[in-house]
Amino acid sequence: MIKFFQIKLFVLSAVLTLLASLFDIFYPTISLIIAFFIYCFFVSTDGFKFFCVLISGFLFDGFFNFNFGTCNLIFLSLVFFDLILKKLISIKKKQSNYYFILLIVLAQLIFLLLHPLSQNFIPYFIINSSLSIIYLILLIRYAE
């Protein structure tokens, strides 16, 4: 059964992205959906629906005119990265902020790999990563 909570969060992220995209500042379109993915998969694990997130990615790609598969590739890469780390390394450490930041940075890098920029690479990377981190903080604090 689809959790409405996840849909609401997706709609919120999409609308905020839409608002942000009205201002042409470094195209912050992917930042919020990355935070949404991380929140859904890594933070809020209660009632998590994997395919629901995949559909969200598909819809997001359609909404913002990305190639179909862009968002889901990022999301699946993050999940794959997490799974591989889990299999290879056995750390009993508890959930850490740095891990989320690492995931955000990785997601931004994957996005840049899929959509290489010819200029403003560093500002784009810094601003979008910051936006993702801020949005993730807000989600963790207030989403539930």
């Binding site: 359609g62 179909f68 508890k94 959930q95 903080i137």
Partner: protein
């Protein structure tokens, strides 16, 4: 820490969600192949278009709001600009009006000066053009202050004329100014002759404030209304033949044999700014 909620204190570093690795790899491969394929085909474009309809309508609403705000603000800015421009133009207009008035004043002054120069050139070669500085000088009626004085060679007794005839006489001289008493003053006497056809009748003329008068004029002398009066030029300062005025009215006097003549002066110094002092 800032990214962790209170609940997350007990969570492990990695995600607890159990995902089948094979499924994940398959999904990754499928996604990658979807991503890599040429997406410019009709079906995918149709899906994209229908998906973009939602955000587009939302963004249209936002853009409409933004445009509305923009229009309202630009209306107020435009109005403000118009008002300030209007104010500026009004100021400029007032300045230009003042300038035009000044120019008109200069033009009339120039015309008057030309007129006086013509009089000077035509009739009185040794004369001075002077400007009236002050009417009713020192509170005296029919007394002017003019801007030429002793340094310009003006002396007491000189006659002052305008284009129509005699205006008055210099009665006081300062270094750079002189006082002129006009012919309308009752303190100024002139000897003149009334020319009526071929007849000429001499008489003493005096001002009465408004007009000139000949107090006693013999009724046996045949004159008509409108006959002109000229100076006799019987002393050094007053040249002969200057027009004084013309007969306006006959009045009876206490003496049956005499009229009192009211003479309308030819000149009107109150309409002039420049006069000619005759040497």
């Amino acid at each position: 820490m800032f990214l962790s909620s209170k609940k997350s204190k007990n969570k492990t570093l990695f995600s607890k969600n159990e995902i089948n690795l094979n499924l994940l790899i398959i999904l990754l491969i499928i996604n990658f192949s979807i991503f890599s394929t040429n997406q410019d085909n009709r079906y995918l474009n149709q899906i994209k278009k229908s998906l973009q309809f939602g955000p587009q309508s939302i963004s249209l609403i936002f853009e409409f709001g933004a445009n509305l705000l923009n229009d309202v603000s630009s209306y107020f800015i435009f109005k403000q600009n118009l008002l300030s421009e209007n104010e500026k133009l009004q100021k400029e207009n007032a300045e230009l009006k003042a300038h035009v008035m000044q120019m008109a004043d200069i033009e009339s002054e120039n015309r008057e000066l030309n007129n006086k120069l013509n009089i000077q050139k035509k009739y009185f070669k040794d004369s001075l053009i002077t400007q009236i500085l002050n009417l009713n000088y020192q509170g005296q009626n029919h007394h002017f202050l003019v801007d030429k004085g002793e340094e310009d060679g003006v002396y007491i007794g000189q006659i002052v004329v305008d284009k129509s005839g005699i205006v008055g006489q210099v009665i006081a001289v300062n270094n750079n100014s002189s006082v002129i008493r006009t012919i309308l003053s009752n303190q100024l006497y002139l000897t003149g002759y009334i020319k009526s056809g071929k007849n000429i009748y001499q008489s003493l003329i005096q001002g009465d404030g408004k007009n000139l008068t000949v107090n006693y004029f013999n009724k046996t002398n045949k004159i008509n209304l409108g006959d002109e009066i000229f100076t006799t030029g019987d002393n050094l300062n007053i040249p002969k033949g200057l027009r004084i005025g013309k007969v306006k009215k006959f009045l009876n006097t206490e003496l049956n044999d005499f009229y009192k003549l009211i003479i309308e002066p030819s000149s009107n110094p109150y309409k002039e700014r420049f006069l000619v002092i005759v040497k």
